[in-house]
Structures are given as C-alpha cells and as structure tokens.
C-alpha cells in the first residue's frame, strides 16, 4: 500500500528537478554533442553503403565475395572443424583445393559469429543478409576506431572529423558497400584498430595496450593478406624512432609485446603458418626486434659504465657484431632456403614494372594495375589537398603518434600509386591526416572568430597545445579584419566539406554500388535496362547439367560458377596454380582440335565464355584474351603472342591474324554471331564492344556444340561432344 501511495510525490519531485538535471555543464554538453555526432556518423557510414541494396537487391557482388559467401555458408552448415579441414573437390579439378588451409578465415568467422549472435537473439535472418551487411557494419565500426585514433594522435576534434571523413570516403566505400563481402571489408577495421592500439601502447608504454594491439594484429592476420603491411610498417616506424633518437622504454615494451605475441598468434592461422619466421617479407620485423634488444642492452651497459669513451668503444664493437651476426644469419637462411625469398606480389609492390615483365598472372588482374591520377581525385576528392596540409600540421607538432601517422600516410600513398586496390589501405591514413588539417584549421579560425566577442576564453577551451594559445594571442592583436577573414575561411571550409559530402554520395551511388554481376545500362529512352545474364547462365548450369559436370572457363568466373552454378571448375580466382591456368589459357588460344585434346585430358564437359559483342559489355573474354595468350604462352611456348596480333595490333575484324580468327575463344565467342544484326544500320556480325564487323562469320564447331546462350549473349555455354562414335 505504501508503494501505491508514494508515487505521486516521487513524480512531483522528479518534475521539479527535471529542468535542473537537464541543464548540463559545458563539458557534459560537449560530451553529449560528441556522442550524438559519433552516433550519427556511425549510422551514416552504414546507410550510405546501402545504395546497392536499394538499387538492385540484397546480393553478393563481384567475384571473390562469392567464394567468401560459399565458405561462410559451409561454415554455418558444417561447423568450424569441417570448415577448418575443408578439402574442396569442386574447384581446381582435378587437383582440388584445401580451402581451410588456403584462406584467411577472419571474414567468414566474423560473419558466422554475427549470424550465430543474431540467431541467439531470435532474429531469423539468412546468412546471405549477414554477409551482405558485414562490410557496412564494419565500416561503421571503423569510424569509431578512426575517432579514437584521431583523438590519440591529435585531439578529439580531429577524431570526430576523421570519423566523419572516413565514413563517406569513396576510397573506402569502393570496397565496403553492402554486398561487397570481401576480406577488405573487415580488414580495414582490423588494420586501423591494430595501428590505433599500437600507437596507444607506444604513447602509454602499457603492456595491456600492447597486448590488445597484438590481438588486433591477430584479427588482421586472420582477415587479410594485407597484414604484411602492418608487419613491415611497424618495424619501419620503430626504426625511424630509433634513428631519430626517440627510443624509449615505452616503445620497447609496446613493440616487443606486440611483435612476439602477434607473431605467435598469427602462426595459428594455417595459411600464414611459419611465414613469420621463414619468409623474407617478415624478416624486417624480426631484425628490428633484435635491434631493440641491442638498444636496450646498450642502454643498460651505458648506465653501468658511466664512462663515455669506454662506452663508445663498446658501442662500436656491439653494433658491428650485431649487424654482422644478423647479416650472416639472414644470408645463411636465404642460401639454405629456410627463409623464402620475397614473393612476386611483394616484388611488384616495390618495383611496379616487375610483374609486367615476369608474372603475367599478377599483372593481368585488374585491381593490380597502377593507379591513374583521376582515380586519386575520384576516391579522395578534397582529401588530396588536405593531406599535405595535415602533414604540415603533423610536422609542426611531432610526437611519436604523429610520426606514426605520417609514416603510415606516406608509405600507403606510395603503395596506392602502385596498385589500384591499395588506395583502400591509404584511405584511413589520408582521412586521419586530412582530419588533422581540417580540425586544426577550423579550431584556429573559430578561436579567432570567438576571440573578439569573448576575449577571455582560454581557460574553458578544450585541451590544446601551448603553441596554439600563443599564436592566437599574436593573431588577435595584429589584423583588424581578422574576424571577417576567419569567417570567410570558415565558410570556405564548410563549402569544401559539403562539396566533399556531395561528391562522396554521388560516387557511391553512381560508381561503387553496382554488383557487377548484374549489369545496368541506359536504354534508348533513358530507362534503366538490367542485364541479368550471369545469374541466368549459372542457374542454367545448376539446373541442366549433371551434378559432376566440369566447366572450363577463364579463371575470373570460377568462384561464381562454383558458388552459383554449383558445378566443378578447372580454375578459379584463387590463382594458386599458374600451370593449370596456363593450360586453360592454352586451350582457349588453340585451334579447336588441339583444344579438344586438352579439354578431354581435363575431363571438361562444358565451356563457358563471356561475350559482350551484343550488349557492348567491354570486359568480356575477347578483351581479356591476350592475357590468356600471355599466361598460356608463359608455360607452353607453343602459344606465341605475335600469332594473334597483326603488326602488333589486336583486332577481331577481317584484318585479324588467321590464328586469332580460328582459335577456340574466337570461335566460341562469335559462333553464329555473323547471323545477328546488333545495331541498326550496321552489317550483321557487328561487334558493339569493339565497334567492328567480325572477321569470321561462318564459324563451324566440330568438337563442341552450343548448349546455352543467355538473353543478351553475355554468357555462352558450350558442351564438349563425346568422341566420334565410328572413328
């Protein structure tokens, strides 16, 4: 009874006290504002990546994500142990692939974990939806990490700006839209988290932060091969600190703990295994590890000796012998083959021309191409100008943390210039450094603007450096139009940032939200035309071919055929066996009878080619064909690239090379195409992708027969005939 009586008085009290409690102190207001902003950024980062789902449907994009999706499905269906030991007999026929030991499982485990949690919470979602939304979800998380990172290296204002910039930066969105279920989606989060935790560890010298960064590194290793960037950047950073005389016990604790534990943890990933102690790419981190011990030892000796001269002599001997021992160990390791040399991919990063000359299979991948200037502008927009400004601010206030971000920014910018896909790695650094520029500028300007109104304000300002305070004082007294100028500049900054937001949204919706498995084009009347030929073809394969049929196609489509068509493929996007791919390339570039023998030896039942001549789809097999010739010719010298060219020119019309006009790929692409009129006013057999009339319109197939061609001829499937009955 007492309970029922009391409520009125309590509510009365509350009502009275409510206005009082709602009145917040400035600090609380600021905190509330910050949290709200971060919350909005968090949501924004998620929803800006949903264009593709709204435009098309909730589907997995591109090529590699289909493999990730297939493995995630397997993981949720069969459990972790089966996944870990999965031997996939459906790909790389007849070699098979040990999937469990040749992938980075972080993404799949993350998605499966999210799926389990959602089901535990009684959300009956399909695993595909989880996979589609994993990348946006982790992009949101990345913004939070970016905030803390920015706060660590500069201040919380820079953190918020960094979070906002990275939330919508096209360079990051390109790899993390909904449906882009790829390793990079979670890896950028892991990368930034590791860096943040490491910088935090260096700043605090705390074992627990170093431990956390080791676990962040472990997650990164489990998620993406780009972890090599971390394991090389961090030692480089340590080395720079050592050289510049910034060695401290904090650094010693942070690096040793992070390196040793991170290495041990990384060895648990089967695909990485013993690489940390055996591969040339990881040797730098080990060298720096030993160097740190030498430094520590020298420090100790210096402390013991006290005599400068004696110490100098000791230093010389120690350093010489340490470097000598290291060099000998490295040399012996390299010579005995215990330490593997650098891989081709690593080489091609350091020397952009390496792959083109030596490894066509790496050079052929579109995302390994050198970056065009326009794509920097496209992906970074104003950040490209803010980046140097940010560097300026960083150099003005050099700390351990800013040195790190500067190094991260500069190295990743170099790599971004080498390979298109590495723009992604540079994006967080560019956003953070630009955020410093924006934040520092705006802060200075606002201080100027507000200084005239409230001359005494220094005390309540957020924690700022002493240099700022003094500069403010100088500006205050010097220029009378300072305030107006500052206002102008503020508006300018606001304008630039709003342009950035508009640009980012436009890029996201126009360029980065197409699934590439469903193509869209504008029709004659401006309406949207959807080409869903890929899925049509894969569905046909699934429904109309024997379950153990083997499909030969160029490796680009391997993952999609296994995931959507559920059929065995000869090669796929995991390009681990160059010879096997070269065999397929050779079959595609041989005459039909020679190709038939190759196909028979591989038990091929169907051949799938992608053809864009009807729709004008330019990334089809005919345009990729020279890579097939090159890769095939790299292993089988009977295939020679000049045989397919006329005066060094690649053509498919009447003037094409005779071998070109009669090779399997040409025949399969253009079979019966000569009968088709693709464009009004053009002769039949007019190839819209290349804008020419084809050179061989009367194609007869002897060993293959057309099995299926999709609505817009984008995918064509041929059946390999059995051997002749009477011959």
């Amino acid at each position: 009874m007492a309970v029922t009586a009391s409520p009125p008085s309590v509510t009365q009290d509350l009502l009275n006290s409510l206005p009082k409690t709602l009145k917040l102190k400035t600090k609380q207001q600021e905190l509330l504002l910050r949290i709200t902003t971060l919350g909005l950024i968090y949501i924004l980062a998620f929803i800006t990546r949903l264009f593709s789902v709204l435009r098309y449907e909730s589907m997995i994009h591109e090529f590699d994500p289909y493999f990730n999706y297939r493995t995630t499905l397997y993981l949720t269906e069969h459990g972790f142990s089966e996944f870990w030991n999965w031997f996939d007999s459906d790909s790389w026929y007849p070699l098979g692939r040990i999937v469990g030991g040749t992938l980075y499982p972080g993404l799949m485990l993350t998605a499966a974990g999210l799926y389990k949690i959602l089901h535990f919470l009684r959300f009956a979602v399909h695993i595909r939806e989880v996979c589609v939304l994993t990348a946006p979800f982790f992009a949101s998380n990345t913004t939070i990490v970016a905030y803390f990172f920015g706060k660590e290296i500069w201040d919380s204002g820079a953190g918020i700006v960094a979070a906002a910039l990275i939330a919508i930066c096209p360079g990051y969105i390109s790899r993390s839209v909904a449906g882009s279920y790829d390793n990079e989606g979670v890896a950028i989060f892991a990368l930034l988290l590791t860096f943040y935790l490491f910088v935090k560890a260096v700043n605090t010298g705390s074992l627990s932060w170093a431990l956390a960064s080791a676990f962040g590194y472990f997650y990164m290793v489990s998620a993406w091969g780009g972890y090599v960037f971390i394991i090389n950047l961090v030692p480089l950073y340590v080395l720079v600190l050592l050289v510049t005389g910034r060695y401290s016990l904090r650094l010693y604790v942070a690096y040793n703990c992070m390196y040793v534990l991170g290495m041990l943890l990384a060895m648990q990933i089967r695909f990485v295994g013993f690489q940390h102690v055996q591969s040339g790419e990881h040797m730098a981190s080990m060298g720096v590890f030993f160097l740190l011990q030498v430094f520590f030892f020298l420090d100790w000796v210096k402390h013991l000796l006290g005599d400068v001269k004696l110490f100098q002599a000791f230093l010389r001997i120690t350093v010489t012998s340490a470097v000598g021992v290291g060099a000998v160990a490295l040399g012996v390791g390299m010579a005995s083959g215990y330490i593997s040399p650098w891989t081709g991919r690593f080489y091609s990063l350091l020397d952009p021309t390496y792959a083109k000359d030596h490894i066509p299979i790496i050079a052929s991948v579109s995302e390994h191409q050198p970056t065009a200037w326009s794509s920097f502008m496209f992906d970074f927009h104003i950040l490209l100008f803010l980046f140097p400004a940010g560097l300026y601010f960083c150099f003005k206030r050099l700390t351990d943390a800013t040195i790190f971000i500067v190094m991260y920014g500069l190295t990743s910018m170099y790599f971004a210039g080498v390979m298109v896909r590495l723009i992604l790695v540079a994006t967080p650094a560019v956003c953070l450094i630009s955020a410093i520029a924006v934040s520092a500028t705006v802060k200075n300007l606002t201080r100027v603007v507000r200084a005239k109104v409230q001359p005494v304000q220094g005390g309540s300002g957020k924690g700022t450096g002493a240099s700022k305070g003094s500069s403010k004082g100088v500006i205050d007294n010097s220029q009378p139009f300072q305030k107006n100028g500052a206002m102008m500049l503020l508006f300018g900054a606001f304008y630039l940032l709003s342009r950035y937001a508009i640009h980012c949204t436009w890029v996201t919706s126009e360029a980065y939200s197409s699934p590439s498995i469903v193509l869209a084009a504008r029709g004659a009347h401006g309406q949207r035309v959807i080409f869903d030929d890929y899925r049509e073809a894969y569905f046909w394969l699934r429904q109309n071919t024997p379950p153990d049929a083997k499909v030969m196609s160029w490796w680009d489509y391997g993952y999609q055929i296994t995931a959507m068509g559920n059929r065995t493929v000869i090669v796929d996007n995991n390009t681990w066996n160059n010879t096997h791919i070269a065999t397929v390339g050779r079959a595609m570039s041989s005459y039909e009878d020679e190709a038939y023998d190759i196909m028979k030896s591989l038990d091929v039942d169907y051949v799938l080619v992608v053809f864009g001549g009807v729709t004008g789809y330019s990334s089809d097999d005919i345009n990729k064909f020279l890579w097939m010739v090159r890769i095939g010719g790299g292993v089988f010298p009977v295939i020679k690239e000049p045989d397919y060219l006329v005066n060094g020119e690649y053509r498919v019309d009447k003037g094409a090379a005779p071998k070109m006009l009669n090779c399997l790929m040409y025949k399969l692409s253009y079979y019966r195409f000569g009968e088709l009129t693709t464009e009004y006013g053009k002769p039949p057999g007019y190839d819209r992708a290349r804008g020419v009339e084809i050179g061989n319109k009367d194609i007869k197939l002897e060993y293959l027969e057309e099995a299926f061609t999709t609505q817009n001829w984008i995918v064509r499937i041929y059946k390999v005939k059995p051997p002749k009955n009477r011959w």
Binding site: S81, W84, N85, F87, S89, Y93, P94, L95, G96, I98, R270, D548, T568, S601, L602, P722, P723, K724, N725, R726, W727
Partner: protein
C-alpha cells in the same frame, strides 16, 4: 472391361519391349534389304544359319517405299543387313544418315558390296572408315592367290586364307579352307583407329579392271587391300563390310576350293564357317562383355566412402561377364587393370579374379590429394571395350589426424618446459629474494 484391356496391355508392354536390352545383348530382329528377292533364295544358306540361331529376319526390297528403321522414335530392328550393293536410293525414310544414326544408337550393320556398288553404299562404308576403290570397274585380281576353277580365267575369284588372328571374332575352331571372294577391294582409312581387317588379300593381289588394259599402277595393292573388315564403334555397335556379296551366296558356300599353287583341294570352301562365325561376333553372340557392380571401400569396411584420405588402404572390385549368346558367363582373364588416375595414373594394378567374374585388388591411396578416378580401360581385340571411370576425391590429413607427440620433437618440448620452469624460478627468486 476396357480397363482390363488397358491393364493387360500395359502389363504386356514390358514383355513386348524386351527384345534388345543390355541384359540380352544379342540381336533379335534383323532387317534385310535386298536388291531383288532372288538374293533371298540364292543366299538362303546364310539366312538359314541366322534364322536357326534364333534371329527374326525381315526381308524387304531396298527401294520398298514402306521400309522404315524407326517409328515414333523407337527402332523397329536391332540390326540391318544391306545385301543391296546397287541401290542408289533407299525407299521410305531411309538414307545414309538414317543408317549411320541407326549404328550410332548402338545397332549392328552388315554391308555387302560388289563390283557394281553404288555411291550410296560407298558413302556408308566411307563413313565407317572403309574406302572402296574409286575406280568403278575395278575388282580384286590376284594372279598368284586365285582359286583354281574350271570356268573363270581372269583370276578375279580369289581364295584367301589371311584371317585376323582373333578367336573372339572368328571362333576358336580354325578355318581350314580358304575363303572364296569375288568383288571389289577396299582400304582402311588410316585415321580410323576402330576398323579392322578380318580378311586381307594376299601380297600379290591388286585392284584393277580385268577387262581393260592396265595403264597406270593400281591404287590399291597387295595386303593393304582388305576384303572383309569389321568396325566396333565406341558405343559397341558392330559393323561388317565386305567387298563381295557373292561370298555370302549358296554357290560359294558349297563349292570346293583349291588355292593356286596349293596341292590341297578342299571339298567345301571356308565361306560358310568364316561368315557364320563373323556374324556371331557382329550380332553380339560372342565377345560381348559387361562390367557391373563396381565397388570400392576402405580395408575392413563395406560401405563406399564419399572421400578417401591420403594413405588410406582400399579395396576395389568389379564384376565382368561375357555374353555367351544365351547367358552371362564369368569372364576370365588375367590382364584386367585398374588405374587410380588423376591426370596420370598414380596406381596401376592388375586385378586378380576368382574365376566367377569378380575382379578385385587392394592398394594404398597415394600421398597426393585431389580428385581421382578409378579407371578400368579394357580394350582387347574383338571384345567390347570396357571403359569404367568412377570419381572419388582424396583429401589430406585433418589437423587432428597427425601424430600428436613425435619423438623427434622431445628436445623442443623439453626446451619449452624447462624455459617455463626456469622463468618461474627466476621470477620467484627475483621478486622475493631481498
């Protein structure tokens, strides 16, 4: 009542349709196409031997407009005999393509040509890898291996005894008397790997027009000339092509034969024995094998696994039977081999058999993972070619299938544990020793 009739009809269909099945591979219904019905009587001995073995012969004129090989997509006959060398165009719906489609769907064919063989017959032969002499007047002439005869002096009647050495095709009983042959020569297309000479001409034979003077060297010479050839297609349809229709005739069957230069005179030519035995082969009464019941499993288990692990021990078995004309008899041979194949054979083992048709072996899966096949490729002269392939993936060890503790690693275990103990002691001493 109507229902009953339908019911009876439906139950009878399987009985009516059981003529040619994989279980009883011998042919039953044979369509014989003739130039004219006189051949029916002049070659009656040959037809009788077929009928006496249970074949149901349907004689039709080759240009009969009502003849058809199939109706409603079902073939009406199991085999076809073309004793119509001069036919230019078949009646009804039959043409060369229809006959080849008939063969390609697994049915047998006997083609007999003659000195007046038409283009149609030549075309069918060419499609089967047999090229008749393009000179229309040419016949086989042999001035050394002719049959001694009272009437004919141009040496176009040949007595040949150069048979293929195969008991499966010609039966185990040796053919003593030479075979009389009078007709045109053919050669085998070298690119065809399936066609076989059953009866070859002697090295002195050649193909020419005996009525005209020989101006240029004959295109077909010596033992490259085939008189009778057989083809076993990849689907095991069997084809017999002969350059002579008259060798099937009663007259040749009954006449005596003496080869020129040979002192022995046989009272009866070898034609009847030779052609009867070959027809037994063509109509699958002999040399027809089937392989059934392919099984493989790990040693000590009985169920077939869906995947093997490297270094598993496995057992493989297959049953092979031969059709004797009435029943399936166990096939006994010691040269049946199985391959464990992935791009190349990793294991090649000869199967042992228990004389009851069951062939078996056991071996260890190689230390290589991938998608393997159990392959039995059994191609023996005259026999049905057996080609069995069964796909099976082989996986590597799982992470927990390796040996847990290996002696070679004991120093490392020792090092790790002594390090841990040492660190513990050191910490204790360092912390509490003051």
């Amino acid at each position: 009542m109507a229902k009953l009739i339908i019911f009876l009809f439906l139950t009878l269909i399987p009985i009516l349709c059981n003529s040619f099945t994989p279980d009883k591979p011998s042919d039953r219904r044979i369509l014989v196409l003739l130039d004219d019905f006189a051949i029916k009587s002049s070659h009656s001995l040959y037809f009788k031997s077929l009928q006496s073995r249970g074949f149901d012969l349907d004689f039709k004129l080759a240009d009969d407009p009502k003849i058809a090989l199939q109706r409603y997509g079902q073939y009406l006959y199991d085999a076809l005999v073309l004793f119509s060398p001069t036919i230019e165009r078949f009646g009804g719906s039959i043409d060369a393509a229809a006959i080849l489609a008939f063969v390609d769907s697994g049915h047998d064919l006997i083609v007999a040509a003659g000195s007046n063989a038409s283009d149609l017959i030549r075309e069918i032969a060419t499609e089967c890898g047999v090229d008749f002499d393009e000179d229309y007047g040419a016949v086989v002439v042999d001035h050394a291996g002719y049959a001694v005869s009272a009437t004919e002096g141009d040496h176009t009647l040949i007595a040949s005894d150069d048979f293929i050495k195969s008991d499966v095709i010609l039966g185990s009983k040796k053919i003593e008397a030479p075979v009389l042959f009078q007709g045109i020569a053919h050669s085998l297309n070298p690119s065809n790997s399936l066609v076989l000479k059953v009866l070859s001409a002697s090295p002195t034979a050649f193909s020419a027009n005996p009525k005209s003077k020989l101006t240029s060297p004959p295109s077909l010479l010596g033992s490259s000339i085939s008189l009778v050839s057989v083809i076993q297609a990849r689907n095991n349809a069997r084809i017999l092509i002969s350059g002579s229709l008259s060798m099937f005739s009663n007259r040749f069957f009954n006449s005596g034969v003496q080869k020129a230069g040979s002192p022995t005179k046989h009272d009866k030519s070898g034609n009847e024995q030779f052609l009867t035995e070959v027809s037994k082969w063509v109509f699958h009464e002999r040399g027809h094998l089937k392989a059934v019941n392919v099984q493989h499993h790990k040693v000590g288990e009985t169920n077939e696994p869906s995947i093997y692990r490297i270094n598993d021990d496995l057992e493989y078995s297959v049953e092979i039977y031969e059709w004797s004309g009435t029943t399936w008899e166990p096939y006994v041979a010691d040269d049946v081999q199985v391959q464990f194949y992935m791009m190349s054979p990793y294991v090649l083992k000869t199967l042992s058999n228990d004389n009851k048709g069951r062939y078996f072996t056991s071996f260890k899966v190689p230390d290589v993972y991938g998608v393997f096949q159990f392959k039995v490729e059994y191609d023996r002269l005259g026999y049905t070619s057996l080609s069995l392939a069964k796909q099976i993936p082989v996986r590597p060890f799982k992470h927990n299938e390796y040996e847990r503790f290996i002696p070679a690693a004991y120093p490392y275990y020792g090092a790790a544990f002594s390090m841990m103990a040492g660190f513990f002691v050191f910490s204790a001493v360092h912390l509490y020793n003051k």
